[in-house]
Amino acid sequence: MSTSTSDQAALGTADHASARARFSVRHIPLILLAPSIVLLFVFLVLPLAIIVLTSLQPNVLLTFDAPGIGNYGYMLSKSYYLAVIVRTVRIAFVTTLIGLPISFLAAILIYRLDERFRNIALMGLTFPVLTGPLAIVLGYMALLTDGGPLFGPMIELGLIPPLKLLGTETAVIISLIQFVLPFAVLTLYTAVSRIPQQLYEAVTSLGGARMSCFLHVTLPLSLPGLLSASIICFSLAASSYVSPYYLGGAAQQTLTTLISQFILATYNSQLAAAAAVLLLVVMLVTIVAITAFFRKFIR
C-alpha cells in the first residue's frame, strides 16, 4: 500500500500534533508543580544551604580552617552539648510515647460521639491551637508551682511532698503532650473515620467482641495514621521552643533554646547554625526510624 506525498505530510503533521499533545499532557503535572518547587527551593533549600555553609565557618569561640567541621566536632566533644541533644530526643520521644495512645483513644471516642457533640469536641480540641503555645505555657507556669492552685493545697495538707516541677523535664513534657494532642488527635480522627463500617459489622457477625474490633480492624487500619501522628508529635516536640524555655529553663536546655541562646545572647550564628543542623539530623534520623518501625506492621 502506498500513500501520496500530501497524505504523508498530513500524517506527519497529525503525528507531530498528537506528540505535542502527549508532551503537553505529560508535562502538565510538572508545570503545575513548578511554582511549589521554586518556592521550596527559594524558601527551604536555599536557606538550608546557607545554614549549612554558616555552620562550617569559624567563630568568636573556635578557630579552624574554613570551611570545616570544627563547630560540629566541638559540640559533639562536649558532654554538655551531647546532654542537650539527648535531652531533646528524650523529651520528644516521651511526649510521643505518652501523647500517641492518649490521642488515639481520644480520636476513637470522638468518632463514636453523636455528630453534634463530635463537632463540639473537635472545635474544643482545636481551641488551644488557636490560643498559641505562649498563653498555655504561662498558664502552666502558674499551675505547676508548688504553691499553685493544683499542688499547693495538697502540699499544705501534707498529702504530697513539694514536687519542684518547674525547671524539670517533667514540666516540659506535660505541656508538650497537651500541645501536640490536637494535632495528633485530628490526624488519627481522619484515619479512624475512614475505616469502612462494614468491617466492624463483619467482625461482630463472626462473634468478635469490641476488643476484637479494635485489634483486628481499628488498630491495623489506623497504622498509617499512627505513623503520621507520631512523626507530627515527635517533630513538634523536638522543635518546640516556648515550653522548654519557660518550663525547663536554662538548666534544661534543648537544641531549640540552645540555638536561640547562640543567636540572641552571644551573636554566634556559626554555632547556632551547627546546632540547627544537628537538630535537623536528629529529627530526620528519628523520623526514618519511626517510619521503619511502623512499616513493619503496615500491610
Binding site: A142, A251, Q252, A265, T266, Y267
Partner: protein
Amino acid sequence: MNFTRRDTLKTLGLISAAYGLTLPGQSRRAAAAGQPVLTVSTWGGVTEEGIRKFVQPEFEKLTGATLAFDIGGQGARYNKLLAQRANPPADVFFSTDEAVVSGLKAGILTPATRQNLGNLVDIEDWALTVKSGVGEGQVAGAPFTLISYVLGYNPSAVDPTPTSWANMWDPAYAGKLAFVAPTHSQMPAFVILAAELAGGSVDNVEPGFAKLAELRPAKLSVFWTDWAPLAKTNDVTLAAEFDYYLDAMKDQKYEIDYVLPKEGGIGVPEYVSIVEGTDNRELAEAFLNLMMDPRVQGAFAAATYQGPTNRKTEIPPELAARCACGPRIENLRFFDPEIFAANRPLWTERMNLEVVPQWGTR
C-alpha cells in the same frame, strides 16, 4: 515583547504597593504623604509606650518627621541589624551600653556628633560608659536612662532582710532564688561579683565560676515575668532583678521589696545610638538629643521608674525614692561594658558547660 506605557505604570505601581506593604501602617501612611520617617528599633512595653507618649509629639513638632517602630528583644533586633547591614531596618537603636560597644565594633552602629547633641553637656559623667570606638568630637550614643540591678525579696517570707549579694548563697534561699540565666545582660557582672566574693577580681574571674556553681536557683530568668508566677506562690523569695521591674511588680500588688546590696547595686545605663548606613542621620541626632531632654527624662521616670541621666531633670521626691537616681547612684557600681562585650561569648560558654550543669544536679 512590547512594554506599553500602561504596563510600565502598572509595574511601577505594583512595586510601590509591594514596598509600601513592607512598612508598618503608620510609616506607610507617612511615606505616602511624603513625610520623612525615622525608624526606631526598641523594646516593646514601657520603652515603646514612653517614646510614643513623651517623645514622638515633640519630635514631630521639631522635625516635621514622624516615627516608625521596630519592636523586639535586644538580641533579635541586633541580629536584624547584622543581617541587613546593607539596608538597615532602623535608624536608631535602643540597647544596653554593652551592645553599643559590640555594635560599634561590628560596624552596625555609628557614633553621633557631639555638637549636634545640645543636651549632652548636661548628661552625668557616670552615664557615659562607652568610651571606645569614638573619635574626636563624637559620642557613642545617648545614654537616656539609668536602671539598676538589685536584690528583690518577699518581706513577709524573708527574715532578716538581705543586705549583700552573698545572701544568695545562704542555705535559707537554696531553691528559692531567681537568678540570671547565662544569656542575661547582667550575667558578666555576676561572674565578676562572685569572683570578688570568692577572693578573685575582675582580672581573675576563675573563682567566680566555682562560686556561682554553688548557687541553687529555683528559676533562671531573662525577664521578670519568668519568675513572677513563682513569687506569687512563694516558690521564689529572693531574686536578682532590675529595680524598675520590681517597682512595677509592687504596683501590681506583688509582695516584693528590694535592697541595694552593700557591695553596690549594678548600674546599667541604657543607650539609644545611630545605626550605621542610615539615610536619616540628622533626624537620628535630633531624636537622640530629645531622649536626653530633661522634660522627656522626667516623664519617662514618672511612667517607668527609670532614672534620668540629665542632671537638670527635676523629679518629685516620692518618685526619686523609686528611681535609680539621686543618692542611690552612690551605691551603684558601673561595670566597664568593654569587659562584658569582650568576655560574653566565652563566659556564656563557661556558664553553660561548668556552672549550669551543677545547678541541674542540686
